[in-house]
Symmetry: C2
Subunit: 262 residues, 2 copies
């Protein structure tokens, strides 16, 4: 099967012009089909503050009210997405920026209210991902740049976690492509010792993960990423790599840096 | 040749939820290939005010400074574009939202500084419009929803008049499609008497236009639209229709309302 890279970047790349430029140069040079999923970075919070939109949290989870979904639709779907697309075009990479509503690629359901009403947050409906449309775009050599937004099929945009968007796409396309999912974040990989940037764990298997959990070696923030990674592997993704943006892309294959999850 | 509608809507449709919903219902029901070009409406000005971004005008022309290009990229390319796309998807119309940077569809050059520096305003480079990419997207039955933004090929987004975006696309695609260009605005058509909504001129030929100019019957605001229309006709567009949004789309063919320019 043909190779497809699904690469997710977050605030540490997006918020810094130099980091972003360096990352996009490496990304553009990957000579294979590729999808870039981006988060929003700090700019959404900054613009939200200027617009007087309060960030509301319940139990540490952000609530997406009506003003906030408009804010993230503007900032993620407009400002950040188009800046990336324009920069990729300048690097001769034929990028096309999408949200989950465009070409209906990622239908979702507004998260049901149980204890907490998260507001306009979308849970991806995996079986409704428009694989055929994604394939048409990839087959025509477009590089897809995807904002972490979905839609409910009734005209409402929804806010969806960028890690989840990336893993959902990776899984959905794993029947047609040999998919490598790469999570770029601010550390060099999954660390044995969170204080020591050089303590990257090279390989995490399920057995190793259980051991790390038992030994309580992992910091909390990394657990959802690893869970997401194993869910992707269990559903057909060939391998998942977690680590620092530039390290990973300079060494897309073979992997000499970061944490490989298999 | 296959028929293609290129339809432009402005603030009077976009700013009013009901008008927009009614328009999109009609638009979605057009059973032919179609491109929708939208302006930004008042919401960009409103959000700009909230963000403390001054609207600067010289000789009545808006200047697009750095803050303003970010603003319109957010609002036109994000908020307005994705709202329209999500609503069209809810009407089973497989829409994909684009700016001129996406799929490189509309490269432009930053307007050269002569007497006035307009800032980040893009003049479309007609011969660089990515006709092949537009054809691929249309051939795969995507409905294109296009924000009035272009890019300079060096990573910079640019602001471009929506009427010009529509006519440039219409002309560029007129070799491959039988293109009808429709300008929807707040009046019923080109009026003989600007005070009288019923005084719609049914047909404007070049001779008629000269006569109207000589008689000074036309109000100033309509002249650029008519000039744009004739430029499109001279370059291969089959016909141009100017009038009220819902009138026009309810009667896409044959035209019983609005002003036909031929």
């Amino acid at each position: 099967m043909e190779q497809l890279f699904v690469i997710k970047i977050g605030g540490n790349v997006i918020d810094d012009e130099k980091n972003l430029a360096a990352f996009l140069q490496n990304f553009a040079s990957i000579n294979a089909k590729k999808i870039l999923v981006h988060g929003g970075g700090k700019i959404a919070t900054k613009i939200g503050e200027q617009l007087g939109i309060q960030s509301n949290y319940i139990n540490g989870r952000r609530i997406t009210d009506e003003a906030t979904i408009d804010l993230v639709t503007m900032v993620y779907g407009g400002l950040v997405n188009k800046k990336i697309v324009a920069k990729l075009q300048s690097l001769q990479c034929d990028a096309i920026g999408l949200t989950g509503a465009d070409a209906n690629i990622m239908p979702a359901v507004k998260r049901p209210i149980k204890d907490i009403d998260y507001g306009f947050v979308g849970d991806v409906i995996k079986e409704k991902i428009a694989i055929k449309n994604l394939e048409v775009l990839l087959a025509n050599n477009f590089t897809l740049v995807i904002a972490p937004l979905t839609h409910d099929g009734n005209g409402q945009m929804l806010n969806t976690n960028a890690d989840t968007v990336a893993s959902s796409l990776a899984v959905a396309l794993s029947n047609r492509y040999d998919v490598r999912l790469i999570y770029c974040f601010e550390k060099n990989g999954v660390l044995e010792n969170v204080e020591d940037d050089d303590s990257v764990i090279k390989l995490i298997t399920k057995e190793k993960y259980q051991q790390l959990l038992t030994d309580k070696k992992l910091f909390d923030g990394i657990l959802p990423k690893i869970d997401n990674a194993f869910a992707a592997i269990d559903n057909g993704v060939k391998e998942v790599l977690i680590g620092h943006a530039n390290d990973l892309l300079q060494n897309v294959t073979p992997h000499t840096k970061g944490t490989l999850i298999k």
